[in-house]
Structure formats: C-alpha cells, structure tokens
Symmetry: C2
Amino acid sequence: MNKNEYYEKILSTNDTPVLIIDLAIVRQRFLFLKKLFPMSHIFYAMKANPHPKVLELLNDLGACFDVASVYELKNLLDLKVDPSKISFGNTIKKKKDIAYAFSKGIRYFTTDSLEDLEHIASHAPKANVFFRVMTNGLGADWPLSRKFGCHQDNVYTLALRARDLNLRPYGIIFHVGSQQRDIGQWDEGVSKCKYLFSLLEKEGIKLKTVNLGGGLPADYYENAPSVEVYAREIWRFLKEDFGEDMPEVWLEPGRYLVGDSGTLISEVILISRKSNLNMTRWVYLDVGKFNGLMETIDELIKYPIDTDRKGQPSSCILAGPTCDSMDILYEKYKYQLPEDLQIGDKVYIRTAGAYTQSYSSVGFNGFPPIKTIVYDSEQNVIFSDAN
Amino acid sequence: MNKNEYYEKILSTNDTPVLIIDLAIVRQRFLFLKKLFPMSHIFYAMKANPHPKVLELLNDLGACFDVASVYELKNLLDLKVDPSKISFGNTIKKKKDIAYAFSKGIRYFTTDSLEDLEHIASHAPKANVFFRVMTNGLGADWPLSRKFGCHQDNVYTLALRARDLNLRPYGIIFHVGSQQRDIGQWDEGVSKCKYLFSLLEKEGIKLKTVNLGGGLPADYYENAPSVEVYAREIWRFLKEDFGEDMPEVWLEPGRYLVGDSGTLISEVILISRKSNLNMTRWVYLDVGKFNGLMETIDELIKYPIDTDRKGQPSSCILAGPTCDSMDILYEKYKYQLPEDLQIGDKVYIRTAGAYTQSYSSVGFNGFPPIKTIVYDSEQNVIFSDAN
C-alpha cells in the first residue's frame, strides 16, 4: 500500500484529528544515524514520542534510552528494556526517584548541581555520572534556556566532588537546543568537553564519554542541512579537539528519529473572515495548541502543511478548536493554503511525530488528547490499538 | 477542621503534586455573584474547571453552563444537567457537533461568522443565537486575540441573515479577556451592545440579552479591584446605555468562580545555583508548565506562592520538573521565597483552581496530569475519588 492508502484505511475507522506514525521511517532514521555514528551509542530521548510501538522498535534495533522521569523508566521496564541501556538524563530528580532508578539497575545519571550530585551519591552509590555543561543554544528552533547545565568551572568542581563521593565521573554532556540549524553550536560544546577532559585528567580523573545530546533536525517547513552534513562536521570537531585520543560518543536524538514519521490528519472546522475588508482567511482546524500542537507556541516549530486541493495558494491564519484565545497556530507567519479549501477538508500536518501526542492536554475545553495510530509501511501492518 | 488540617489529611494519602479544591469557596463565590447580579443568569464557563464535583455543586446552586465542545456537553448530560441551562459558546463548531447538541436539547448557540451561522441554521433550526462582537481586551492578564468575534458591522449583517434563516437573533456577547483588571473594558463592550440593539431594532429585530462574558478576577499575586466594584461599575455602564429598557443580562464567569478554590501543593525537588557567582537560586518544583501550570506561559498568570518556612525572603527562579527548557514558571519576575527553603519542602501555589488540571499534558516527559482532590470545608467532607 502507498501512504495514502494507509491513511484512507486508518481514516475509515478513526475520526480526525488522528496522528499516524510510520514505524518504517523511525527504523530508517535510526539505521541511518547508526551508519553515520557507527561506534557511538544512540540513546533515544523518549520524551519525543513515548508510544510503546516506537519504543519496542528502537529497543529491537539496539537503541539505548534517555529517560526524563521515573514514569518513563517504568514504561521501559514494562517493555522489558534492559536497564543497562537506560540513562536518567534529567538533572532535576527527587531523591526517591534516584533510589528507585538505582534499585531497577540504572547506572547512568546526569547532573549539573552539587545538591543533585549528593543525592546521587546517597541513593545510587558508585553510579556513572555525566556532567551537563551549559551552552548558549543559539540557532535552535526550540531554544535552550538557562534551566539546565552549569558553567564549566562548576563542572570541574562537580567532577572532583563526585570522585570524593565515590561516584564515577563518566563524561560530559551538552545540549545545543532542539532542531538546531547552526552546526557550529556543536563545535562550542565539543571544545568545552575537551577542555574539561584535559583539566580533569590532570586531577587523575579520566573521563570516558562525550555525550552530544540532541539537536539533529527533522524535516520541518524550513529546511535544515542534511544529517550527513551534521555528522561530518561533528566528527570534524571531535577530531580537531580530541585527535587520536577519541572518547566514546553518545547521542540523544529524539526529534530526528521520530519527527518525520508522523502525519497529523486534521479537518477544517470553519473558514471565515473577521470583517468584509479583511483579506486573510481564518482557517480553524480540529487540532490546536492544546490537543497536539503545543510546539507552535510563539510559532517556533513550523510544520509542513498540505491538503488535497489544487487551487491557488493564498494566505491564511491557522487556529485550533478551543475557546482559548492563545489557541492560534500561525498568525504572524502566513501559511499559504489553496484558495478553494473547504470546510470539512482534510489538512495534513507533516513531521508531527515528535512532541505532539505526549504534549496533548488531558482535556482542555473537553477536547481529548489526540489519538495515535501506528503502522509500518515496510512490514505492511497497521497496529490497531490506539493510545 | 481548618485548611491546614484538610491539607495534612489529604497529603497523608496523596503524593505531591496535588491540586486541592475547596467547594465551599466555589459556593461562596457563586452566591456572592448571584447577589451582585440578582436578576442575571450565570453560565459557568466550565473549561475553567470541569471537575464533576464542581459541576454538580454549581448545578445544584442553579447555575447554567457555557460549553466549549460536545465533550463538555456530554459531561454535563452525564451529570443530568438540564439542557435548557446549557449554551454552546464556542464559535468554532463542526456541523455534526451542532446537530448533536441540538438533538440533546441545546437551544443557545454563539456565532461570529456567516459560515457557522449557516451551519446552525441547517442543524439547529429556530435556535437562539448570540453574536460575538470583537473587543480589544487590553488590560487582561490572559489577553484576547483576534481569534473570536467580529466587527459590529458584521454582527449587524449576521443578525439580519439569522432572521432570514429562521433563527432567533437573541443577544450580543462580548469578552473582555480573562482576569481583566480594567473595568472600563466592559464600558466599550456594553456600548457596542447598545449600538447593535438600537440598529437592529430599526430592522424589526428585538434582541433580548446582553452577555457580559467572563473576565471577573480571581485573587492572584497582583491585586485586582473587588468584584463588588466590578458589579457596581458594570451596572452603571448598563444603565447609562440602556436606561429603563434594560436587557436580560448573562454572565459567563470561569476563573472568578473556581480560581480561589484551589491550592496546588508541590514539593521542592532541587535548589541550586548555576555558577559560584550567581546570586539567584533556581528552585525546581515537581509541578510545572506541562503538568498544571500552563498559564505561567510568558509569566502571564502570577500565582500567590508560599511555604512553611519563616526565613528572610530572597529572589529565586522557579522551574518545573521536565527536561523541557521552556518549563520555567517565573524567571523575569523574581519571586521572593524564604532563604531557608529546603529540598523536600512543600510549596503552596494558591488560586490554582482555574485552568490548571484540564490544561495538564497527558504525560509530557512521562509526568502524569496533576491529581485533583475535592473537599468542602463548609460540609466537612473530603471526596476520595481523584480524577
């Protein structure tokens, strides 16, 4: 079946809005990334899309997992994922959650503060610790804030303290922001890693791993360089800084692995104009900020959007179905949709596989979270269980 | 029991974060508003807090209901709410949803476009129609956008068309934005209503009702005038414009009725500093933007926040527990919390009864939606069923 036949079949038993995930794309992305980073460990940032079918697939392909909470951890353990492949990447952790993770066999933890480090030492003795160094994140569509990471001088102090606490200083992690379009941002991160590796080696601490974090792009409305270019440049940065003494490399992709696998199929509820003189149509969809498209906040993530109509493209403002004034998807940036678009038409929101379903509200304005249907175009199967 | 005894009892069987709602506050707010608007109809905007106990209470007290979707409508019908007390206030409606609502006995619909009006005419024949006129919403904490309403000239056209379509032009509705601090905004709205009442009367259309919408304030961190002042001024505006020919008045409060009834009890996960020289603490809570505090977006809604500590207040940045960089509650505005605040301490986020639980994500980063526990300090009962 081709893509449209899958969609037709799925829509014959499901109302819109529905998020449709093709596992074949996830598989292709993972295997391609594995080829570009052959000796590296790929830790899927499961917050991007925690659907069990996605997790199972990646687990079967040999992926490791980055979890943000004990809830995510529990979901992985329920799927029988080997705990030695799981890293607890959130630097904000309750003591009891560290203890729980440790009791389940988790041995990799990330930190950026003395307080959290001490909690790890008390509740996960001898664990391997990554230190998160702060970067500026310029150039990312979904930018960083100062919430995570600390200055490299603090990382140095933390690593010494970790050793004193009988933990194993394992590596440095940095994040360049999500959907990062400026590959040079990894250069800064890698340099900080090298600086810390050298500095700590003088103290007798031999770090093992550079964790490149996330940031690899999915195919949104505005293009980014291909992932081969990212890989080539990142390897160049690593070689320039580390030469022959190359560390182990970890990656934590989320958006890159799952973003392009998803299409969110929506329906036009209403098309109207606000006054007789207003030239821009308002197109209201049955999906909005609060039932799947939270990342349209500040119009940060621009999804590719298409329809089945062939008319001349013309400007519109796209909004969601709730009574909330904030539930507008794109107003400043004017999407061009066919002039002959009609109420009741389907609208296809592409690259919607990451940060959509799990971001849905439980029921804002009563609207339920979007339903996800998973299929696999390579294995020719539709999984019927919606979540 | 006093408030703290209720909290203690609830926390003895529930982990944080937990949202605690006191129905007594909702009852007091409703009865007080009824006193200030004795001959008016109060339609609770249930999107603010759709907890069944809140809905049942308000239904028993004689409230009517404004629904934003058929899902909300279904919840009311499940609770045996009389459909003649329900108004479908969302101007963005699927045809099948209009038909469903009409089939269940709903006779009040709001519109702001010709397209939606025609759908109402086809699927809800002879229904009563409110026309939503656009206002600017300046002065509101949670502002309006251009998403809803239309220009008064369009309202005029819509009302004539409604009559031609055999619908009943029933009234004008305007919204001044949520948590509106500038009472004068109602003056503008009332004037537009009067203008339209007069203009349409010349066409033989006698409108019945002015719907004042929402906007009445809850008690957030920054004070608003008392609701008596709002009522006094709004009556003055109505009398100035309508004199002896006073229309029926409807209100659609949400935040005012339920906001102050809720306290969100959270726990400090971590307190840290980003560098040795940084004077501002980062305080990370187990509740954030994606599990209940969505309205902290752009720091729009500032909740009163307190703790059990007595130390000197000092500045902090407040952030939530997820791995999302956006999950910061207050960074620009520096909350002052006691210097001796410790990891593990409880933090009380007040006036959290509106737009919190229903806004929670289904599981972003794995974190579940916040749990709600309802009690009634007047009737001395804790309802054990969490939602």
